[in-house]
Every structure is written in structure tokens, then in C-alpha cells.
Amino acid sequence: MNILEWSFLSGVLTATAPVLLAALGGLICQVAGVFNIALEGQLLWGAFTAVVVSDLTGSAWAGVAGAAVATLLFAGLLSAAAVSLRADPIVVAVGLNLLALGLTAFLMRQIFGSGGTYTSPDLAGLPTLAELGLDVPVLGPQSPLVPVALLLVVAAAWWLGRTRSGLRARGVGQHAEAAAAVGLRVGGYRHGVTLAAGVLCGLAGAQLALGNVTLFSEGMSAGRGWIAVVAVMLSGVRPYRLLLACLLFGIAEAVGFRLQGAGLPQQAADAAPYVITLVALVLAAVAGRRRRENA
């Protein structure tokens, strides 16, 4: 294989990583019966807080930690409103996504003094694995969060399939009343997965703003949180299938990027991930319907 193809695979992985991290959050929420469509706003909030903390401290890892904590707190709003107070999770999430968009654009102007895009030499990006001494093809140019995301897929599969708490979380999602009747704390599990999804979205945002690039721009999540929601729907709540769904998105983005280099208009590259994700979703739904009809 030549260099170009390695770099293409590497580009796929780079595009996949933030979506995969956010989608893992969506998956564990879905497992426990929380329809979490606040991923988009949380991803954006994570990207913003990662950049702010990295800029203030000069440390990318502090940025990652800051994003994880800040997005955990942001997810606390969802968990308080939708789990504790039992408000409609869809409406709350629509509000929180709007809040994240406004809050990041507002604070950006207050903290950095201007809107649009912020980048600075003070802003520390995540190192690549090659810089850390692991100079292998495909993974070498990635930030350490990329292998972490891949390992988290394995961890999620293990948690859901092999651990007591994972099985119980699935029980909470499948039949909340039955789970409560055998003594499980339904609310506790739901708080847990919602907050954990916040941490994952924080990591996703940090990877997006400090790994994929080293900057923050308004609305930079650009629908990735929604693609993550679709990936969860495509996965049938199975972590390995989730990885495949996210890779599909990564391929779409990387191909779009290539085609743009080859002279296709930017708008086509922008639209490609959505169109491909939507087509995949429709095909999966048609296949699912056919399977049900045959059964």
C-alpha cells in the first residue's frame, strides 16, 4: 500500500473519533432507556471548554480533563431535568443544544474578545502518537484519544455483556417497572449513564478541538452530535456495530474531503456525511422491517 492510502485510512479514523466518542455516550444512554439527543450541544460545549482550559493552562491534557468535567456538569442539567424532574427529554435536549450554541458563542466573545474562529500559539493541541514514540502507519498521526475511543468500544461491549451493572442497566432500559420491582434504582442508572455520556462528549469535543484541529470555531460540532444519534439508531445498541456506523461517517467525511481536493464544490463535501448517514439509516430501517415481516 502506498503512503496516500495510509493517509486516507488515517483521515477516516480522525473523522470517526469524535463521533464515536459521542455515540458511545448516546449508546449507553439508549441502553438504560434515555433518548439522549443533547449530544450535539454537549460536543460543542466540550470542544469550547477544552480550548478555554488548554489556552489558559497551556496544557492540552488539562484541556481534556477540563472538557470532561465541564461537560459532565452540563450533562447534569439534562439529568436533573429529564431524569429527576421527568421533563420531556426531547424538549429539554432541544433547549440545551440551543443553550450550548448561544453560551459558547457568547463566552467566546467575552473570553477571547471576538467571534468566529479562535486559535493562538498559547493553545496547546494534543500530541500525536508518533510524537509520543509510537510511529506506526494510520495510528501514528492520531492523538492518544483515538485509541482510547477504540478501546472504549471494547469496554462498552464488555460492560454491557459481562458485568452485573451493565446487565442491570440493560434491564432498566428494557422494562423500567420490572427493574424497579426487583429492587434496581432506575433513576440512579439513568443519572449514571447521562452523566457518563457527558464525560464522553467532553472527550469527543476535546478530540475535535485539540486533536483533529487546534482551534475553536462557532458551531464547530457541525451536526456530529446528530450523526452520533443516528449511529446509535443504526447500531441496534451493539457497541461493535456502533463502531461500524461511525466508521461509515468517517469514510464519508474523508471521501468528501478528498473530493473537495479533486475540485468538487465544498457544499458537496459538507453534505456527503449527512446524505450517506441518512441513506444508511434508511437501508437499515428497510432491512429491519423486512426481517420483521419475514419472521
Binding site: A81, A87, V94, G95, L98
Partner: protein
């Protein structure tokens, strides 16, 4: 005060919209104080930006698309479908109107009506794409409308830049539309057009249809309890598709109205950048399932939105603050609705 009056006052003060707006303003004031903005300067600047110094015309001009987008969200919502793809439907309508107005020289009145009809149709078609996905395949409209919206905005952007783009300027916009296609202005500045009475009339029509017709009843029944409506003989799938397409039609019409209004061309990004779609979503949710409250909520949030720009100019407060307020309003309304429903049950 009599007991009845006290009770009425309490009911108004504790109603969801009042609590939501009050709570959101309190939290916004808190945000201002935290970031070191003086609220006693910011709020007067907001009010001036919305209604004083000739700004009222801009506020009314912004009220029209926001009210139209509110119908685009509210109509499907009555049938239980979330239409978050307003931006794509808006852009599709705008581009259809511009393409028709630019390609064919039309006689005076038709030159306005046909592009608006094309815009409505285009918006409706884009939204209708989501209908079979929701009713046949079980993909929630909230996800599919949003996913369809992004490529629709990209497509419109491409069309406006290249096939329809103004040659030689390098700007991402169409050439100006022929004079016959300009919407007649109602004010001297030209920003308030015939679009205002049109949208107001359509809102009236929607309110009437929702409350007083069989169609409106069936839509509401579908939204409340789909199985029950089906059992009652309502063709729920067709109705849901109709609601989504109708919502998209309103959004498309708004796109057409913007393009046929000043500056009488499709400027790339000008339709989606002001955020009409989500201001409208916030307004409809704020109206909390009371259709007659929708125009009031839209007026309130439009005042905030336009006033926010005045606040930015005068007091240096980023206008994105109004987006924060909208987000908070939605969350508070959602929380308040369940808390009160539970209290009523108890």
C-alpha cells in the same frame, strides 16, 4: 382584592410562559453579572434596539419570518412530529423562488405569486421526505428532518453560488430579482412588506383550522394518542405526512418571502444565519400547546432577538445572549410542564 381576582393573578403569575420568561431573564441577568455587564445598561439598550430609533420596523420585519417558522414547527408538532429541519426547508423555498423569478419574466402579479407558490411547494417537498421515514420506517422526524436539512442548505448554497450566482462579483448571491417580483412594501424603509398581512392571515387560518375543523381535531388527536386516533378512524400516517409537508410549506413560503423582500435577492446564508428556525421553536414551546399564544410568544422572542443586536451595539453585550435566553426558556418550560402535571395528578 377578591378571592377570585387573587386566584386569577396567581394563575397568571404561575403559568408556564410567565415562569419561563421570568426565570430565563433572571438567569440571563445572572450571566450578565458574572461576565461583568451592567444589566441597568444592557436592558434599556435591548428595549431601544427593539422598538425605539426606527428599529420597530426591523422588529416587525423579523417578526414575519419568525411567525412563519413558528407555524412550520407548530403544525407538525400538533400531530406529534418534531420538525427541526426548518433551515433546509427555508433555504429550499428561497432558492426555488429565486430560480423561478430569475429564469422567467412574468407579468406583474404572477411574478410575486408564482415564486411564492414554488417556494411553498419546495419547502413542503423537502419536509415531506421525512414523512415516510417516520411513518413507515420508524425513524423519528426530529432526526430525519434535521439530517435532510443540512444537505438541503448545502444544495441551496451551491445553487446560489454557481448556477444562479451573480457573475463577476465573486459574492455568494444571486443577481437582483426583476422589479415585478419585488414584494410590495408597506413602510417607507421597505422592510415591512405584504408578507406581514399574508403571514398574519395564514396564522389566523391555522388557528381556525386547528380549533374548529375536523382536520384540526384529527391532527390533535394524532398528536395526543396515535393509537387512539387510529382506532377512531383517523388515517394517522397520511395525516402525519400532511402535517410535515404543511409545516415545510410554511417554511418554504418564508424562504420565498425573504428572497422577494429587500435586498430582493438570495444572499447565501442570509436566510439561515438570523436563526429564525430555532427562535420559532423556542416560541412554540413557550406557548406550551396554546395555539393562540404562539403569535404572542413569537412577538416576545423577536423583540428579544432584534433588541439583542441593539444591546450588542450600545452596551457591547454579545447578541448571542438572546440564544442563551431561548435555550433556557425551552428547558424551563419543559421542566415546568411536568412538575405541574404531576402536582395536578397528586
Amino acid at each position: 382584592m377578591t378571592a377570585v381576582a387573587t386566584r386569577t393573578v396567581r394563575r397568571v403569575v404561575l403559568s408556564a410562559p410567565v415562569v419561563a420568561v421570568g426565570g430565563a431573564l433572571a438567569l440571563t441577568t445572572l450571566v450578565m453579572l458574572v461576565v461583568g455587564v451592567d444589566p441597568s445598561l444592557a436592558y434599556p439598550a435591548l428595549v431601544r434596539g427593539a422598538i425605539a430609533d426606527g428599529n420597530l420596523e426591523y422588529t416587525i420585519a423579523a417578526f414575519v419570518p419568525t411567525l412563519g417558522m413558528a407555524l412550520a414547527f407548530a403544525l407538525p408538532l400538533r400531530a406529534g412530529e418534531f420538525n427541526l429541519g426548518g433551515d433546509g426547508q427555508l433555504a429550499a423555498g428561497g432558492v426555488a423562488a429565486a430560480a423561478l423569478a430569475l429564469s422567467a419574466p412574468l407579468p406583474p402579479v404572477l411574478a410575486v405569486l408564482l415564486p411564492l407558490a414554488a417556494a411553498t411547494l419546495a419547502g413542503g417537498l423537502v419536509a415531506a421526505l421525512a414523512a415516510p421515514l417516520s411513518t413507515r420506517l420508524g425513524i423519528p422526524a426530529i432526526v430525519s428532518t434535521l439530517l435532510i436539512s443540512a444537505p438541503a442548505v448545502s444544495l441551496a448554497s451551491y445553487l446560489v453560488r454557481f448556477p444562479l450566482g451573480e457573475q463577476g462579483t465573486g459574492l455568494a448571491q444571486t443577481p437582483p430579482l426583476p422589479a415585478a417580483a419585488h414584494l410590495p412594501a408597506l413602510t417607507e424603509g421597505g422592510y415591512v412588506t405584504l408578507g406581514l398581512p399574508l403571514i398574519v392571515a395564514l396564522t389566523g387560518l391555522w388557528l381556525y383550522a386547528d380549533g374548529r375543523t375536523v382536520l384540526g381535531y384529527e391532527l390533535r388527536a394524532t398528536g395526543r394518542n396515535r393509537e387512539f386516533a387510529r382506532y377512531g378512524g383517523v388515517r394517522v400516517n397520511r395525516l402525519a405526512a400532511f402535517a410535515l409537508a404543511g409545516g415545510g410549506g410554511f417554511a418554504g413560503l418564508v424562504g420565498g418571502l425573504i428572497v422577494l423582500g429587500p435586498p430582493y435577492r438570495f444572499v447565501d446564508g442570509a436566510l439561515t444565519a438570523p436563526g429564525y428556525t430555532f427562535t420559532a421553536v423556542a416560541a412554540v414551546l413557550l406557548a406550551a400547546a396554546r395555539p393562540f399564544a404562539v403569535p404572542v410568544a413569537v412577538a416576545l422572542l423577536t423583540l428579544l432577538q432584534v433588541g439583542g443586536q441593539g444591546m450588542e451595539r450600545e452596551a457591547g453585550v454579545p447578541s448571542q445572549l438572546t440564544q442563551i435566553v431561548q435555550g433556557l426558556i425551552i428547558v424551563i418550560v419543559a421542566v415546568f410542564a411536568t412538575v405541574r402535571a404531576r402536582r395536578r395528578r397528586a
